[in-house]
Structure formats: C-alpha cells, structure tokens
C-alpha cells in the first residue's frame, strides 16, 4: 500500500514551460526515496506540487488516499537554503511552526529532545548569523520535524554544504528518520548521497521531467559511509548513472 502517490502528474507553467510530463510514482509509508535527474528537469516543481504549494495542470497527488488540494500539516519542508528567520534564535526558529495556523499555540510540545536530536544543545539562543551552514541546516531540519510530519520533503537539503559536513548530516538524517518513522522524499544532485540515503532512487528525464526508472538499494540499515566501498553500493550507483544517460 502506498502512502503517497502521484498519478499522471503534468505541469505547464503560465509562461508555457512544460516542467513535468505524466509523473506517476508510489512511496510507501516509512520509505525513503531519492529523486535524481538533470538540472531543470522539474524536481523542485514536483516537490512543490506534492507539498500542495503548486497546482498541477493534470493528474493528482494523494496522501493516504486523500487528494492533495493545498498545503497540509502532514508535510514538512526543507530546502537547499535553510530559510531561517534572521531575527529569531535557533529555538524560536524551531518553534515557529507551532505558532502558525488557526490552532496556533495548542499542543506546543517541548522542543528540547528535538534540539538534542539534531545536536544543537548549547545553541538554543544563538541567532542564525552566528551559525555555520551545517548548524543552520540542522536547525531547519528540527523545524521541519517539530510538527511531526508524516512526509518530509527535502530539496537538495545539503546542496550548499561542504562534502565533510554533508556526509555527517546525511548519516545523522538517516538516524533521525529511522527513529521517527517519517516518510522521506529527497531531491539530490549527488548519486552517492541518493544511494546512501534512500531505499529507492527514482530517476527523472530531462525537461519535461518524467520518471524513467528506479533503482532499489539493497543495503541494510543503519548504513555507514564505509558502505560506499561495498559492491552492492557500487552497482546501485552504476545502475542510477546508466538511467541518467
């Protein structure tokens, strides 16, 4: 049974650019899926439609068999840019989602465990400009998780970070996601990162984007970066690369 699926999703922007062409995909509950594809093929567009921020021209997205008609609290978002409010401290940024919506203020849970989970203890009162890129992204991750979303959508979440920080965060994200059981759809430009993170890698064609194939990653969890040396990892990477050609 799929938790999140899209059927025949197409989107043409008002200026005539067709970004997506009949995208059909299924994601199971608790699954981690990576989306890879050439630049400009419509990956961000697809995520925005799933998040309910953009309406498709044709087709539909379903979450738990309910059609997505607009933004819902069931999804959490993370972008390449941490998108923190510069005038708020780390903790205030993480709490922001709790203050929004018509039922704002209700069920404001303790964010301390979450801050610990992403390793930001001691920086609760720091302002975004006092954070490193990796810390800012971890703040954004905690903020995305504070509403306990069933579906976490990430658009190149670590794209702007250096390789070392990126590896650390990817490994950390894997644990977080396993602890919480969140379903994850992540866009990435790194094939290795896609294979390392995901249960399945979906490969998209050049614009107008459509799914041209998928690679199931048969690696046990938890995965460590040393897994990268294993033959299974290597063959998965090769399979994704072949589909991208």
């Amino acid at each position: 049974m799929s938790f999140c699926h899209s059927i025949d999703l197409s989107l043409t922007y008002p200026n005539g650019t067709q970004a997506l062409d009949r995208v059909t995909m299924h994601v199971a509950r608790g699954e981690a899926v990576a989306l890879v594809g050439p630049s400009g093929c419509g990956k961000s567009t697809l995520l925005r439609i799933i998040a309910g921020l953009l309406r498709s021209s044709h087709g539909a997205v379903f979450l738990d068999d309910r059609q997505v008609a607009g933004p819902t609290r069931a999804t959490g978002l993370m972008f390449q840019d941490p998108a923190l409010l510069p005038w708020r401290s780390v903790e205030e940024n993480i709490r922001l989602p709790q203050e929004l919506g018509r039922q704002a203020g209700q069920g404001s849970e303790d964010v301390v465990p979450l801050i610990k989970l992403v390793g930001l203890q001691g920086f609760e009162h720091a302002l975004p400009r006092e954070l490193s890129g990796g810390m800012a992204q971890r703040t954004a991750l905690a903020r995305a998780l504070v509403t306990q979303p069933e579906l976490l959508l990430m658009d190149e979440p670590f794209g702007a970070l250096d390789a070392l920080t990126r590896e650390g965060l990817t490994a950390q994200l894997q644990t977080v996601w396993r602890d919480l059981g969140t379903t994850v759809i992540m866009v990435t430009h790194s094939i290795a990162e896609a294979v390392f993170m995901a249960d399945r890698v979906l490969v998209m064609s050049a614009r107008p984007g459509t799914i041209v194939g998928e690679v199931t990653v048969g690696l046990n969890r938890p995965r460590a970066w040393s897994t990268q040396g294993s033959p299974v990892f290597g063959s998965a990477v090769d399979a994704v690369r072949a589909l991208l050609r």
Partner: protein
C-alpha cells in the same frame, strides 16, 4: 578616538569665532553671540513654542504619511492591478518637488496646522510606500513556502514574516521621510505662517536679526536629528 568628532566641532567653532571678528554681527555673528541669543530665546520660551509648532507639523505628517504608506505599500506589493494603477503617480512623485505644491494646498485647505500636516504627509508618503512595497516583495519564496505548509493565516504571514522582513526597508524610508518632513514643514512656514521655526527664520531675516536665523537653523538641525534617531529606535523593534 571617540572624542575626535567633538574636537572637530570645537575647531570649527574657534575658526568661526575668529572669522566673525572681521564682519558686523548682522552679516556673520560669532558662536558666542549665537549661543547667547539661543539662551535668551530658550529662557523666554520663544524657541520652545516655535519648535513645538514645527515638531507637530512634521511629526504628525510623518506619522500619518507613514501609516497610510505602510498600508498602501502592502496592498501595492500584493496586487499587480493596484501597482499598475498607482505606477504613474509613483513615477511622477519622484519628479515633483512637493514644496512647490504648498501654495495649492494652502488654497484648498487654508494655512493652519492641518494643511501643513497634509503637506508633510504627502512628502513622506511616496518614499515610504516604495520602500515598504519593495521590502515585502523581497521576502524569499522559501520563507513564504514555509509559512504556507504550516497553514499560516494571512495575519500571521503579515505579522511574523512580512513586517519583520520589510522593517529595515521601512526604517530606511522612515529616515528619509523624517528629514523630508522637517524640510517640508519649514518650507510651508516660509510660504505662509505666523509661527514655527520657519517663521522664526523669515522674521529674523526681515529684521536683519542674523543670530536669530542661526538659532533657528540650529534648532531645525536638532529636530531633524531627533527624527533620524527615532527611526533608528524603530529598527530595534524585536519580534
């Protein structure tokens, strides 16, 4: 290093005093004479009275103009139709010296306080509007998306995202507006009035009371600086 500005002022004052010795006081009064006159006008309450008149004109104009401009700037940023409708006026406002409009306003609204407040508000309106609209437009899309997926209401987006994001631009607009409002009030008083620092200047002018003119100019400067500082306080608002 912190004292250097004061040293600069002191040197200028000494030089001014020295040069003034070569001219009669109604051409160039020295700082000592001006300071004496300042004291005299402060003690007899003249200065406070005229300064409060100008302060009221410029201050009320600045406040009213800013409030309306913030609302209008928000609407312009949100509505392409409204922006198109207003764009000729916004462009024209860049070229109109509003002071030149003062006589028209006096014809229509008399030359009392309301007319002068109106003129100041008009002068302040466009720079603040343009800055507020630009500030709200500059809110990055990811932040808007973030508020959207968290089901933020319009009011929450406005109060927690748009206002704080646009604040630096608003403060910049308010700064420019504050200075312009003082200039507008003085100019309006030149044109027609019986009170205010601008009136004091023209009075000093017609009686060859040059020290009085200088006292008024210094007071205007202090007023403009106070407005500037007030704008800075606005920027320190915390969200």
């Amino acid at each position: 290093m912190r004292w250097l500005p004061l040293v600069g002022v002191a040197v200028a004052a000494v030089a001014w005093q020295a040069i003034s010795l070569f001219y009669p006081p109604f051409i160039l009064p020295g700082p000592v004479l001006v300071a004496g006159r300042f004291w005299e006008k402060t003690v007899d309450g003249t200065l406070a009275f005229h300064a409060s008149v100008t302060l009221a004109e410029a201050g009320l104009g600045l406040l009213g103009g800013t409030l309306i401009a913030v609302v209008a700037g928000y609407l312009v940023a949100k509505s392409a139709v409204l922006e198109r409708l207003l764009s000729p006026f916004i462009v024209a406002s860049q070229g109109i010296p509003f002071i030149a409009v003062a006589p028209l306003i006096f014809i229509w609204f008399g030359n009392g306080l309301p007319a002068k407040v109106l003129l100041c508000a008009l002068i302040v309106f466009f720079p603040v509007l343009i800055n507020v609209a630009a500030g709200i437009r500059a809110v990055p899309q990811p932040l808007r998306d973030l508020f959207a997926v968290n089901m933020a209401t319009r009011l929450q987006v406005f109060a927690k995202l748009e206002v704080p994001s646009a604040l630096p631009m608003l403060v910049a607009g308010f700064r420019v507006g504050g200075t312009l409002a003082v200039v507008g009030a003085i100019a309006a008083e030149f044109v027609s009035s019986t009170r205010g620092l601008g009136f004091l200047i023209s009075q000093g002018n017609s009686f060859y009371d040059t020290p009085l003119v200088m006292v008024s100019v210094l007071s205007i400067m202090a007023l403009a600086l106070a407005f500037y500082a007030a704008a800075g306080l606005l920027g320190k608002l915390h969200f």
